[in-house]
């Protein structure tokens, strides 16, 4: 369920590192809590966001939730497919429904995030 090579934030985002780029998304737990996701406000290309800063937002029928950057960096690619198919976030949150790729400012920040095991404990799963 929660890939072992990802790192997770307490705000329910995940990040997977490829070289100096981090792929960022929201967790299975996050999409489940939100329910049917119907709208995504994607991050702005080129935006420089600090760890914990607002990257974008997702909306379910019921509510709006901010997406926080799990790591600091510059947004170098966004998953445009989500703009027209936000429901993908319910279907494949850890895979096809990644949200953005960020050029990482500091790899060291990864150490402060949760492992898959710790995250599952954190959400009580």
């Amino acid at each position: 369920m929660y890939p072992g090579n990802y790192r997770y934030s307490k705000e329910h985002e995940w990040v997977s590192v490829e070289g100096d780029v981090g792929i960022v998304g929201i967790t299975f737990h996050a999409q489940k809590e939100l329910g049917d996701i119907v709208f995504v406000d994607l991050p702005k290309l080129g935006a420089k966001v600090e760890q914990g800063g607002v990257l974008g937002s997702v909306e379910s029928v019921k509510a709006v939730s901010d997406i926080y950057a799990p790591v600091s960096g510059e947004v170098v690619e966004v998953n445009q497919a989500l703009a027209d198919a936000p429901e993908k976030l319910n279907e494949d949150p850890h895979g096809a429904a990644w949200i953005a790729r960020m050029k990482l400012s500091s790899l060291a920040e990864m150490d402060g995030l949760l492992t898959a095991e710790d995250y599952q404990k954190y959400i009580g799963g």
């Binding site: 329910g35 049917d36 709208f39 406000d41 909306e59 029928v61 019921k62 509510a63 709006v64």
Partner: protein, 344 residues
């Protein structure tokens, strides 16, 4: 689960969208036991209810239900309620959970007819069967002829082996039956209704679908479209006000009718990308002009809709407005309420 006036209630059982579609296309079952009940009894029960409620209570017959406002003297809403006339000397009110104590105090404060006003919420659970298959589902459990109960009428009878009040009332814009019964029998009836509706694809539905369904049907929700600061004139609820009688709040309402309200409720549909949410500011012609009272994606219309307060000239359908979503203006257009009306 969310805490709702002291009740733990599910926002959704499966998915708000699937539950919403079940009610529009087949049938859904809601546990609305949190709703409050107040009983009024006495030789002049009719006079008290007719004075405290805005609607034409004197036109009601036994076994009829009516939607009404309870107003303060200043014309704002104490609550919006359903009145059930059992007889001229016995009325049963269904009121909002969060307002029930103040409703009770308000009614007693104007009770110069010495009626017996009883706070009865602990004595009732309420299950709501809503959707095109609501009658077929409910009929399987009762010998009461449900086709004989017209819209906004009710009958007392046995259902699923339990004595209950069965009303053809609802909050979704679909055909509907609401069943009031003793709380200790509610779980049994809940199971029986789910089993009876299985062949029609019944789904248990939570507060989330209840909100999207009532919004599409253009029905007010206390705390959103109406509250103590809003009058029936502003909320577009004058059809539920009988100006030929005296009632609490009448004088203030008449004054406002003479002067004209400064705002009125309007429907809108987003034309730009974004979902309006309760409380978002609305700009008209480049300046602040109103606010969103309820906003949501509409599963039936597949559009983002909402209701809002605007200066009266702007409420006519077809006006362009801007909803401020996270600091950015997003275009919307005013449309008539309701957004959805079922074919009859």
């Amino acid at each position: 689960m969310v805490d709702f006036g002291g009740w733990d209630m599910p926002v959704q059982y499966s998915s708000i969208i699937e539950e919403h579609h079940a009610v529009r296309r087949q049938v859904g079952l809601f546990d609305v036991s949190h709703m409050g009940e107040i009983e009024i009894e006495g030789p002049q029960a009719h006079d008290l209810v007719n004075y405290v409620a805005t609607s034409a209570v004197s036109k009601m017959v036994d076994g009829q239900a009516q939607y009404a406002g309870l107003l303060y003297e200043h014309g704002g809403f104490v609550d919006d309620i359903l009145i059930y006339r059992i007889s001229a000397t016995r009325f049963f009110l269904c009121v909002n959970a969060a307002n029930q104590e103040k409703d009770y105090r308000h009614i007693r404060s104007v009770n110069r007819w010495e009626c017996d006003v009883r706070f009865a919420s602990k004595g009732y659970a309420q299950l709501a069967v809503q959707g095109p298959q609501a009658r077929a589902t409910t009929q399987k459990l009762t010998s009461v002829d449900l086709s004989a109960i017209r819209y906004y009428r009710f009958a007392d009878g046995e259902i699923g082996g339990v004595s209950a009040r069965i009303a053809r009332t609802g909050y979704t814009g679909e055909d509907c039956f609401e069943v009031f019964l003793a709380p200790e029998r509610a779980e049994s009836l809940w199971r029986q209704l789910l089993a009876a509706g299985q062949e029609f694809g019944i789904r248990p539905c939570g507060l989330g679908a209840r909100n999207t369904l009532r919004l599409e049907a253009g029905m007010a929700l206390y705390g959103h479209e109406i509250d103590a600061t809003v009058t029936p004139l502003e909320a577009g609820l004058m059809r539920n006000v009988d100006l030929r009688k005296d009632f609490v709040g009448r004088a203030a309402l008449e004054t406002q009718m003479t002067r004209g309200p400064r705002r009125k409720l309007a429907g809108f549909e987003m034309t730009g990308r974004g979902i309006a949410r309760d409380g978002y500011e609305i700009w008209v012609d480049g300046a602040p002009g109103g606010w969103v009272t309820s906003g949501s994606p509409s599963p039936t219309l597949a559009r983002n809709i909402g209701m809002c307060y605007l200066p009266p000239p702007v409420t006519e359908p077809g006006r362009t407005i801007e909803v401020i979503i996270r600091g950015q203006p997003v275009s919307a257009v005013t449309v008539p309420i309701p957004f959805y009306k079922r074919a009859r």
